[in-house]
Symmetry: C2
Subunit: 526 residues, 2 copies
């Protein structure tokens, strides 16, 4: 049995507050720095490695973080989670997204159903759909094959699947496994759907409507928008629409859809990329084998998250260092900086994953906590960010911890040599240079050209961004966020903070407002 | 003559620290809240309005901010800037981006050249180019018209022009003024250029190479990448390439380009959207008349920034409230949240604009400052963000000030009624609801469902996102950042923080490294 305690009740936390801080400039300069970078590395699945040489930690701090992992029973809590305990206390739900990609512990039976089998069955059904679409067994009314798949969803039904699609689109083209182009409609702004519909051939498009409850207003609105367009084109919408929803939703067993695939209440939206939410669109786009590879990569990395040794468990160590930065060093933000254009929307997914999970002020028991919890996450791909907001990161008045990601090889295998190096070498040289520049800084008599340094970062390094390494990356961050939630003793799996806005928006639409809300409604001509 | 003083030397700053804080929940609840929202609004150009009803200010605080504007001589400094003083002290340069869109003060003559005329001449030359391209006078080697324009640039040569292109792409389609599709290549990651080249027809594409110095390594590398592709397609690259650079750069008067357009050292990259940097690609894509409308909107808003009355000068008031939030209330971040899918990349542009300008720790004289300066900027369009990171904004342990943007009408004029309201009404209802939810919160016995409120926001409301209103928005934020730089007494127009990384990256590429940098280089296989 695990026990759930607030961070500030832990002996290891009190110890952590008093351990001597690291002078990162000193630690990272000279041969001492070289030794740190060699030593401070955790192997991950799929050839990835989490290197924390440039984090403001040392053996003393790490020893206390190891105690914290034990005292907070992090692996025990993870075990309880994957074995099916009701970890989502707010909504009284299990948390089973790991089961979509593997069996980490005992069978989980809920309402008489083996959940691993349930998720696997959905994946098989998706694969069957794909084969029928590719083979021309499921076709449009003119008997022609579908060429485009359009995901209609918002939040977790959009950000994760979209980030993964963009991450592998060019890889798939290069490897001749791009079966269908994918597009995404999310925003209730009608210009979003209109723009996507303008850019596709609706007659050859399948639309995947994703809403667990079947009642997400933005998504239903966009569905109507799309159905209107299909009808105006003289097409039968039900021949173009697929639902991804829960078995109890109004979208299930509904003749308006040519197929329906299911997730359940145990898969939170932001953790749903490896369920049918990501599975349908990604399988149709890349082929079910490719989606299976993403799952395999995630499953391999999930297994490593069971390890009690923080030096062999990248997600747990990353989580603990983040807690140290947030609660001891007092940093609010974390920037995610992938040196890979394919990961251009991965920071947006992590932004939801992290901020929606741990942006909480009460613990699992609904009691206020008196310490900072989840950080603000933002980021853009390098090298682009270098020519943008890195100025503040280097010379601003606040320190922002950094999470770099880099790959030795690019996806497209097309490159050019300029001034003696390839683009890929330049890309990698830049991320190496940035880590050291942030950590070590540089003195200068002209203080405008001085870099204080002492700005901590980690980097995940991989061979190449592939379906498997992408799955491993996804797992790393999901589990990092989960472990941080455990340390902060918050429920990382509900999101009550989204409710009030929904309620007030309904009041506005019903013209049932007064006070400031009425004035804003009038100003916006509603 | 203006005098430059640190914020913490100002009497108004000391006064500001001691003014009673506003209880935003109380202030925004009931009819009192309604009165605030009606009253706390500044008209802007092009029918926009800056509403700060939900900011944590009141008449007392605003009175001190008005004193600060006067004591810090904000309009005097702006006047010095647009009249050509050397405001960029770090690089000893004038700051003249306002002249690209109007004459706010005296003629500015530099090196015998009237700079307003210089910029206007470039715009006329760009317009002439456009007419020739549209008319088929400038064609590819097969005598066919160009259909696509590809901007090759990074940082300010990418983010601003790209954000503006995305903002108007659908508007232009709707208004039959999309002359050419635009694409953008920025990252040195070779997969970026490869992906763009895969998606276009190079034989019918014009490439606009943008580098002020003509030496930006990422941009030259991508140029070579593109030239390779053109040559492999049997095309003469010089018939496809246009340069935007300074007159003294190696790209000027170079036979490798079919045309060259010029900016100069007085236009910083992040302030260059209204110069030829944005002008060439946006004029080619939308027509020079549309680009001129962006400039007109910006010029109208620039004029308002001259106003000494903070209640009639949205940029200055927004800047001062931001300083209050940063330096008195102690907030680090600001989220930019446009309720407009067309503005999906506008936050990324503002991120560079703001963080690269004011992410500084030394004042204009190179002396360290002892107060926080520029905030961290991040954001995504609503309603998407609501289903993502808003959880933390509502219920997280830290307060993040919010900058909303909304429009009464959408661009595409296509909409659908679901559950009694259009998508556009839902979009607007959501932003109204969010403002009030953030400000007022909601009590609940279940603390997990309680919203503390007290989270300040402003909103810029417009009729529709058009070239003119977009220009006004751009001006508002450029001038806001400028005024904040004046208050903090930093130089908002250099970026020494980008240099160290460049130097170290060159060392890595030359294999001239030791210590930690060598280890990272080895790990990344460079």
């Amino acid at each position: 049995m695990v026990t759930w305690n607030n961070l500030d009740t832990l002996a290891s936390y009190k110890e952590l507050l008093n351990v001597e801080k690291v002078d990162l400039v000193k630690a990272m300069t000279g041969e001492n720095g070289a030794e740190r970078v060699k030593k401070y590395s955790v192997p991950m699945a799929e050839g990835l490695a989490f290197n924390y040489g440039a984090k403001a930690v040392d053996d003393n701090i790490l020893a206390v973080l190891a105690k914290m992992a034990e005292e907070a029973q992090l692996t025990g809590k993870f075990e309880a989670l994957y074995n099916g305990d009701v970890i989502n206390t707010g909504e009284k739900r299990r948390v089973l997204h790991h089961l979509t990609r593997g069996q980490l512990g005992e069978d989980v039976i809920a309402d008489g159903v083996n959940k691993r089998e349930f998720y696997t069955t959905q994946q098989k059904k998706v694969a069957e759909l794909c084969e029928k679409v590719y083979a021309g067994e499921i076709v449009n009314e003119a008997g022609e094959k579908f060429t485009t798949v359009v995901q209609i969803g918002i939040g977790g039904s959009d950000l994760g699947p979209r980030a993964l699609y963009i991450a592998l689109e060019n890889w798939a083209k290069k490897n001749n496994t791009l079966k269908m182009n994918a597009q995404f409609i999310s925003n209730v702004d009608p210009d979003d759907a209109a723009a996507v519909l303008n850019n596709i051939d609706v007659a050859h498009s399948l639309f995947v409507l994703v809403s667990k409850s079947g009642t997400t207003l933005e998504t239903l609105t966009n569905e109507s928008f799309v159905k209107d367009a299909l009808e105006k084109a003289g097409l039968d919408a039900s021949k173009h629409m697929i639902a991804v929803t829960s078995e109890t939703s109004p979208l299930a067993k509904n003749e308006g859809y040519l197929a329906a695939f299911f997730m359940d209440d145990f898969i939170g939206g932001r953790y749903s990329s490896s369920s049918a939410v990501g599975g349908v669109v990604l399988s149709l786009a890349f082929g079910p084998e490719v989606f299976a590879e993403i799952l395999n990569g995630a499953a391999e990395q999930d297994k490593l998250a069971k390890n009690e040794n923080i030096f062999e468990n990248s997600a747990m160590l990353d989580a603990l260092i983040g807690v140290y930065e947030r609660n001891v060093l007092g940093y609010l933000d974390t920037a995610v900086l992938p040196y890979s254009q394919a990961l251009s929307r991965f920071p947006a997914h992590l932004q939801q994953l992290d901020m929606e999970s741990n942006g909480k002020s009460v613990n699992r028991f609904g009691e206020p906590v008196s310490y900072p919890t989840g950080p603000v996450i933002f980021g853009e791909p390098g090298t682009n960010g270098q020519h943008s907001f890195y100025q503040l990161l280097h010379q601003g008045t606040d320190i922002v911890p950094l999470q770099f990601i880099g790959f030795k090889n690019n996806q497209m295998e097309t490159d050019v040599v300029i001034q003696g190096s390839t683009s890929q070498q330049k890309l990698c040289a830049n991320v190496a240079a940035q880590i050291v520049a942030f950590a070590c800084g540089k003195d200068d008599e002209n203080l405008n050209k001085k870099f204080e340094g002492g700005r901590p970062s980690s980097i995940i390094i991989g061979e190449k961004l592939t379906p498997r390494s992408l799955g491993a990356l996804l797992s790393h961050f999901e589990n990092k966020v989960m472990f941080q939630g455990f340390v902060w003793n918050v429920n990382s799996f509900d999101q009550e903070g989204v409710q009030l806005g929904k309620v007030l928006a309904q009041k506005v639409l019903a013209h049932n407002t007064d006070g400031a809300l009425k004035v804003y409604s009038d100003l916006l001509n509603i």
